[in-house]
């Protein structure tokens, strides 16, 4: 009957569990696959406490400077403020914390006592590195095996520089290594070392090899075209420095647009994107679509390439047709519905396929690890283990192509799961908190089930926050490899103030003021019920709360 207040966390917590004192939460936090403590960060950035904001971010995600730039922002799609005026610039605020904080003043969690366990990580992308970071903090000895010449996976090797300056990522990778993680680059498992050898030498293994096997469409002369991810990788590594005047990209997702914009930056004058999706259901982020208009990229929606045209042994262009619809089958292959209409032709100096990727898993052949129909690794949703003991998986290899934040969240959850596996302590999964002394310890405050996600309809007082326009970082119109989007800088604190703090009390005291029975009191940790048996369950604490942070637990005697 008396209210229960859903409170904000006070200390960094590594696992993203439902907490006994935080039974309600926001759609943004619920949507963030990395598990960023978004609202805590907003509260701290509002007060310009950037260092603490970064500490909280890093307790869940060692790559906030990266996700703060290139995340596709599922949190903002779900942000309640969208229903009121505009979504909070959550990604911008994450980046602000990462960029503005004085990194020399960040307190770093201490490694736990050494466990003596050895872990091998296959793949040094965001999933593998996040996993390595936490596993190392948990006291295990971690070695990362990476096939490429550098760590960082797709963000390091493929994401174009104008979206993610590599020094930012390198610095964050450095902080992972600083915890004692060993890394061996140019080490492809299955080539330099076999999977069996690894299994024999380590207590446990994480597979985080991403999804790198690129599809090429089954059309005549496909071999003349190049593959998108490979193209981007070669540009990032400096192997490709120019491209022809006219470029056609086949595909409509984020990779296709990265290829398109990169082509423009390499000097292409005319860039076409040919994709199956209609104009109203593009898979690419909206920012990409806006940039495409700015940079004069021509998009051909609802079309499919029917052949690559050859000219003097080289690429001459693309022939394509309009389609009426398409879908994906269980294996993730495209099934196009009845092609119709006239064949069209686009002349081109280069054709790039950006039509999807799959995990490349030849190296585990024979190990008996179960796969999903789409070629990803099957993992247990709770233990995060693959079908064979001691082998875990995280990131794109388990979920299929996803986003960096997902790889980060998966990496962290896998570290927690493997820690439980290695120590045999079922409790450690519950909650690992970073204390005042920056020691990591287990805290028993996680609750059963999931926090209630507050919807906009449940926000009784958006007026409290007023209407205020969203702040954006300035986007330069220049077509170059230098970073396109600037950070929020001074406007970050103003933007953070817009946050409704959905489901987490920000201690405004309205409920205490509005309780008609005057039974609540305000304390340092927030409102508290002082006279529980004098509550009328009138709900005024709820209707006065601008954060929708109030729920009720009915006493036993009302339930019989």
């Amino acid at each position: 009957m008396p209210p229960v207040f859903s409170r904000e966390i006070e200390r960094p917590l590594i696992s993203k569990a439902c907490l006994t004192y935080q039974t309600r939460t926001s759609p943004c936090e619920s949507a963030c696959p990395a598990g960023n403590p978004i609202q805590k960060v907003h509260g701290l950035v509002k007060e310009k406490r950037y260092e603490e904001a970064l500490e909280f971010l890093r307790s869940r995600n060692p790559f906030p400077g990266t996700t703060g730039r290139i995340c596709t922002r599922p949190c903002e799609t779900d942000c309640n403020r969208r229903e009121w005026d505009e979504a909070i610039n959550i990604r911008g605020l994450e980046r602000a914390a990462a960029d503005t904080a004085d990194r020399t003043r960040i307190k770093k969690p201490m490694r736990m006592e050494r466990s003596g366990k050895k872990i091998a990580v296959i793949g040094g992308g965001p999933a593998g590195l996040t996993f390595a970071y936490f596993s190392s903090l948990f006291g295990h000895e971690v070695t990362v095996f990476e096939a490429g010449p550098t760590l960082g996976g797709v963000p390091r090797l493929c994401v174009p520089e104008y979206r993610l300056p590599k020094d930012i990522l390198d610095m964050e990778i450095g902080l992972v290594l600083e915890t004692g993680v060993k890394a061996r680059t140019n080490m492809r498992i299955g080539k330099e070392i076999s999977f069996e050898q690894l299994r024999a030498s380590y207590d446990s293994i994480l597979i985080a090899v991403g999804a790198w096997k690129e599809r090429k469409l089954d059309v005549p002369h496909a071999d003349k075209a190049i593959k998108g991810v490979e193209f981007l990788r070669h540009v990032n590594l400096g192997f490709i420095r120019e491209i022809g005047r006219k470029v056609v990209i086949l595909g409509g997702g984020g990779v296709a647009f990265d290829c398109a914009f990169t082509a423009r930056r390499l000097g292409a004058q005319e860039v076409h994107v040919v994709c199956l999706e209609g104009a109203d259901c593009m898979a690419a982020p909206s920012d990409d679509l806006a940039q495409a208009i700015q940079e004069g990229i021509m998009i051909h929606n609802g079309c499919m390439a029917s052949r690559v045209l050859e000219k003097e042994g080289k690429v001459g262009g693309v022939e394509y047709i309009e389609i009426s619809g398409f879908c994906f089958d269980d294996a993730g292959e495209v099934r196009v519905e009845a092609a119709e209409g006239q064949k069209k032709v686009l002349a081109a100096d280069q054709v790039i396929f950006a039509s999807g990727v799959k995990p490349e898993l030849d190296f585990i052949n024979g190990a008996g690890i179960a796969l999903n129909p789409n070629g990803t690794l099957k993992i247990d949703p709770v233990t995060r283990a693959t079908s064979i003991s001691g082998v875990f998986a995280a990131g794109d290899v388990a979920t299929g192509s996803s986003i960096v934040a997902n790889a980060v969240g998966q990496g962290r959850e896998a570290a927690l799961a493997m820690h439980r596996f290695l120590t045999g302590d079922p409790k450690v999964q519950e909650l690992l908190a970073i204390g005042e002394d920056f020691q990591i310890r287990v805290e028993a405050v996680s609750c059963q089930g999931q926090a209630h996600v507050v919807s906009f309809e449940e926000m009784f007082n958006p007026e409290y926050y007023g209407k205020k326009p969203r702040k954006e970082g300035v986007r330069s119109a220049e077509i170059s490899f230098s970073e396109k989007c600037a950070g929020l800088d001074d406007s970050a604190a103003v933007e953070a103030e817009r946050c409704f703090h959905c489901g987490h009390c920000h201690k405004c005291g309205k409920c205490v003021e509005d309780c008609p029975g005057l039974i609540l009191v305000m304390r340092e940790r927030g409102p508290e019920v002082r006279y529980a048996d004098e509550c009328w369950h009138c709900g005024n604490c709820r209707t006065s709360c601008p954060d929708s942070a109030v729920s009720y637990v009915f006493p036993l005697y009302t339930l019989v």
């Binding site: 009957m1 009784f460 509005d514 009138c538």
Partner: protein, 551 residues
């Protein structure tokens, strides 16, 4: 408004002083401001959340002269103007009916969301045995009071939140102001005004408990405990109907939540333990008849051993009706409804809702003339008519009348310093006691007496004993000790409640019949046609008086 700081406390002067910021006080404040008066509202809680409407309301009674013959002033007056009601046709027409459109416009402007049909007209339903579909249904009614409050503040009323009024002041036979204190800080206040409107809420709660045993777990507002009667009575105001206006309803078993209006009017069927639908025996309109018949009927079944349990069956509702009722209208009356049903595992469409007879609330009214002024010159009442509509409209009308009177012949009286000093001393006395009785023991004992002798079945001997015991309890009033301001507030609430219980018992003792109220007298089981009028009580030279008939 004029504020003077004195050694004794703050003196606040205004044209129109409104006591209580519930629906009636809010209506009064808006009206008096629109009439150009300077307005001070004094409320022991906070304007945004206080009063009966603070918990949320799901319907608004509106007769709009817009449709069938039952949607007219005539039908409205006929329904409410009964020999026992104490209201005149003029009063009902001017003070309520004619104000409905004004209040509706205010509510619409403040974006109160009334359910509408596809053509944009209001969804209108019937209830309370009323002849017409007079209910406008409110969606999201849990924020109704906040929206009204926004308007009160915007109109420029000076609102003193958290100030408890403990005494009314009279100078030369006229009302002149009141005394009170800030319940969080203990600051003492003296209010002076040309006219005063009493809007302290005409229900008296915490006088009995439901099966949960918790007196705050009530259907009505447990923080409204009878100052509306206790304070005017002290200065000689006439009070009516404290006997037959007592109320009870059905509540979900163990939880003091309202909602029967919505449930009954949408066609909920009440069943006894044998699974029989019995209300037809007690009211021709079955569940949708008079609420007191539903209570008496349920109680009769109980005595006959056909319950508990009692249930409301809504499983025959359409999915959509059941959904709107459970998830929209019910939380509108209590924002905590959804949690309750989910924690108890109730689905209206699937399960029978177990109900019980609620705790009793006392009720009554101040006797007023057609301009809603009491027999004390300058003291108006805003809480004349029932329901949130009646409170808002009646309050509004009283606001208009008081503001006009203040303008035409109003003058400020003096505050007798000695009275103020004595009252201040009395107010804070419980804080000075080193040992004594806790307010819980005091008001809890009142409840045991009321629950025991003043329940749904009563008789002369029992009521006389109740009175004797209430008087005995009062000898303990000076022993109540308050450890802090919270306990002090509850102490004064308990004292108001005590007074209201005494007045109700005194009145009931004189109504030697049954059938007009929610309770029955076993010694006088039938209606007495001679008593088809209100019982009026007042105090003259310290002595209790009563008479039959309001005017």
């Amino acid at each position: 408004m004029n504020i003077t700081e004195t050694v004794l406390g703050k003196i606040v002067e205004t044209d129109v002083l409104i006591l209580g910021a519930g629906a009636a006080g809010s209506g009064a404040a808006i009206a008096a401001r629109r009439e150009g008066a300077d307005v001070v509202v004094v409320e022991k809680g906070k304007l945004e959340s206080c009063g009966s409407a603070g918990g949320g309301n799901d319907h608004f009674t509106a007769v709009l002269n817009a449709g069938p013959g039952t949607d007219t002033c005539g039908a409205f007056v006929d329904f409410f103007c009964k020999p026992t009601s104490g209201w005149t046709p003029t009063m009902l027409e001017n003070g309520w009916f004619k104000v409905i459109p004004v209040i509706l416009e205010i509510l619409e402007q403040e974006r109160v969301n009334f359910l509408r049909n596809e053509d944009g007209s209001y969804v209108r339903t019937a209830g309370f045995g009323q002849p017409g579909a007079w209910f406008l249904n409110i969606s999201g009614g849990q924020t109704l009071k906040r929206k009204i409050a926004r308007r009160v503040r915007a109109e420029g009323a000076h609102v003193f939140d958290y100030v408890l009024i403990t005494k009314l002041l009279k100078t030369d036979g006229r009302i002149s102001g009141c005394l009170g204190y800030q319940v969080l800080t203990g600051e003492f206040y003296m209010f002076k005004a040309k006219k005063v409107i009493c809007c302290l809420g005409k229900t008296v709660n915490r006088v009995s408990t439901n099966s949960s045993g918790n007196p705050f777990n009530t259907w009505h507002d447990p923080f409204v405990t009878g100052a509306y009667f206790a304070l005017p009575y002290e200065v000689g105001a006439k009070i009516m109907n404290m006997d037959i206006a007592e109320i009870a309803t059905l509540i979900p078993k163990g939880w003091g939540a309202p909602g029967m209006n919505g449930i009954n009017s949408m066609g909920g069927r009440e069943l006894n333990a044998l699974g029989e639908r019995f209300m037809g025996k007690y009211d021709p309109m079955w569940e949708n008849g008079l609420r007191r018949n539903q209570i008496q009927g349920t109680y009769q079944e109980f005595i006959e051993g056909k319950g508990p349990p009692f249930f409301i069956d809504m499983t025959h509702f359409t999915e959509e009706d059941a959904r709107i009722l459970q998830y929209d209208l019910m939380p509108g009356d209590k924002a905590t409804y959804n949690e309750y049903t989910s924690q108890k595992g109730i689905c209206f469409k699937r399960d029978l809702l177990e109900v019980e007879i609620s705790e009793l609330s006392l009720e009554g009214g101040l006797c007023v003339s057609d301009n809603l002024e009491t027999n004390i010159e300058g003291l108006f009442s805003g809480c004349v008519f029932p329901y949130v509509s009646g409170a808002l409209c009646g309050g509004y009308y009283a606001g208009v009348q008081a503001a006009r009177a203040a303008r035409e012949e109003g003058r400020l009286g003096d505050i007798d310093e000695e009275t103020a000093v004595r009252e201040k001393e009395r107010i804070f006395a419980p804080l000075r006691l080193q040992e004594g009785m806790n307010y819980r023991e005091f008001e809890g004992t009142i409840r045991t007496v009321m629950d025991y002798y003043m329940g749904l079945r009563r008789n002369q001997k029992g009521m006389e004993l109740a009175l004797e015991k209430l008087n005995f309890i009062l000898t303990y009033a000076s022993k109540i000790m308050a450890k802090d301001y919270h306990e002090l507030l509850r102490t004064h609430e308990g004292l108001f409640m005590h007074k209201a219980c005494v007045l109700t018992t005194l009145t009931c003792l004189r109504r030697k019949e049954s059938g007009r109220g929610v309770y029955k007298r076993t010694d006088f089981p039938d209606l007495n046609p001679e008593m088809n009028k209100p019982l009026v009580i007042w105090q003259e030279e310290g002595r209790f008086r009563f008479s039959w008939g309001a005017q």
